[in-house]
């Protein structure tokens, strides 16, 4: 019915998008029920275009019909609108929160773009992407330190921001001819640890499927 706003939580996403997966993991970590609406990005729906007119991208969270866009903004929104435990950003510690935001932002700035160059480019471009990827993964491992998770003992904001990309590690390894286990053993161990969490196991696709989907993208773009 026109004008009637749908109540509750809905998430507009795309199955393989790590950005959408961040939101799904956060929703599950918070124990929130929601309706998932898979979007056709080749043929964008009225709902998506109306909910995110500026960027026309997924993910979009709708809460009682009101849209929130940008995955990390959605995750922070869920953390603040549903403050019952667990807190994804460490409560009451502005410095720790700033550090968490910094590393989530680092993932946003560096990882997806570098990964894309790894499977798109050849020659020097590819070699540079490979070098950068190793550096990025090592930097993230440095940030992880000796902790079980990026925030220490508890699974939190940075873990949510990064964990969807662990399904892309295999693709990075195959396209980049590198080994995450060898370059960053602690990061590889963290990935395995996260995979044991129900929220992560439920929402990530097997790495082989991700690799397949990238191969599909390459074909469509006419890249060898």
């Amino acid at each position: 019915m026109a004008g009637e706003k749908k109540q509750g939580l809905q998430l507009l996403g795309f199955w393989v998008s790590p950005f959408g997966q961040r939101c799904r993991i956060a929703l599950d970590e918070k124990g929130l029920s929601y309706e998932y609406l898979e979007q056709d990005l080749a043929n964008k729906s009225e709902l998506l275009l109306r909910a995110n007119p500026v960027h026309k991208k997924i993910p979009v969270l709708l809460h009682d019909g009101r849209p929130v866009c940008e995955s990390l903004i959605i995750v922070q929104y869920l953390d603040e609108a549903f403050p019952a435990m667990p807190a994804l950003l460490p409560a009451g510690d502005p410095y720790a929160r700033a550090q968490a935001r910094f590393w989530a932002d680092y993932v946003d700035k560096k990882l997806y773009d570098c990964g894309t160059r790894l499977w798109k480019l050849k020659g020097d471009g590819h070699a540079q992407a490979r070098t950068e990827m190793v550096e990025i993964l090592r930097t993230l491992e440095g940030a992880l330190g000796e902790g079980r998770f990026f925030g220490g003992e508890a699974f939190g904001f940075v873990d949510v921001a990064l964990v969807p990309f662990t399904s892309w590690f295999l693709a990075y390894e195959w396209f980049g001819d590198l080994s995450v286990e060898k370059e960053c053993p602690r990061l590889a161990a963290w990935a395995k640890r996260c995979a044991e969490r129900p929220s992560v196991a439920k929402n990530l696709y097997p790495p082989e499927k991700v690799y397949e989907s990238i191969c599909g993208m390459k074909k469509r773009l006419g890249i060898e």
């Binding site: 809460h63 866009c69 940008e70 903004i73 929104y77 609108a81 502005p94 410095y95 700033a98 930097t139």
Partner: protein
């Protein structure tokens, strides 16, 4: 340690990202020391404080570094929460909207598409921001309503730069006919005591771009 020594900002007067940190500190009445970088030469202190990105601004609070301007502004808001009205709204949904537009501003502001494209893109972005202002201000003076908020800080930091682009490209971006609310907002906010000293004259920005060649690169990337 003196009061001012407890809070230091590593930066450069011409960077809009540094300007927003200074405005945030001034709004909270926090005394600070500005450690000016030399364009073309990154200091030891900067490299030590922000080894990941090697960029300004960096806030040093009792020696602990915080990087990325919007993350710094949120940190300032949380640490000095009892001083001055909060930058981010109390309501999670409004916060999400403020964060969305601040991110949008940065996406557009750092789009290095060359002089002509820059003017065109800025014009379109300002149109969207004009509409956002009408919605968010609810008839009041600022994006934050009655008080200067997160989005006001994020956007006003570019005003000196926008005025410089107007001079260099010979265009009117802050056009009373097209974006009347933004023009009124900019005029009002630029005379605010916390802002007036943080944003030099447009001519200074023009001079800076003439001295250092490329218009935006030295500012965006910080000193090389």
């Amino acid at each position: 340690m003196s009061e001012a020594e407890a809070v230091r900002v590593i930066g450069l007067w011409a960077s809009p990202f540094v300007i927003r940190v200074l405005i945030a500190l001034k709004l909270k009445g926090v005394k600070y020391e500005l450690v000016e970088e030399v364009v073309g030469k990154k200091s030891e202190l900067l490299l030590r404080s922000n080894p990941v990105h090697k960029k300004i601004p960096v806030l040093l609070h009792h020696g602990k570094p915080i990087s990325e301007s919007l993350i710094i502004v949120q940190y300032i808001d949380e640490v000095w929460s009892s001083d001055a009205p909060a930058f981010l709204h109390a309501d999670p949904y409004t916060r999400a909207v403020q964060r969305f537009w601040a991110q949008y501003v940065d996406d557009k502001g750092t789009d290095d598409g060359g002089k002509d494209q820059a003017a065109e893109q800025l014009s379109a972005a300002l149109q969207l921001l004009e509409e956002a202002f009408v919605k968010l201000s609810q008839g009041k003076h600022y994006f934050g309503g009655d008080s200067v908020g997160y989005l006001d800080i994020a956007l006003v930091s570019y005003v000196g730069w926008v005025k410089a682009v107007e001079k260099i490209a010979g265009v009117t971006l802050l056009d009373k006919a097209k974006v009347p609310n933004l023009v009124a907002w900019a005029d009002r906010l630029c005379t605010h005591p916390a802002v007036v000293d943080a944003i030099p004259d447009a001519d200074k920005f023009v001079e800076f771009s003439v001295t250092y060649g490329s218009f935006s690169k030295p500012i965006i990337n910080g000193p090389k």
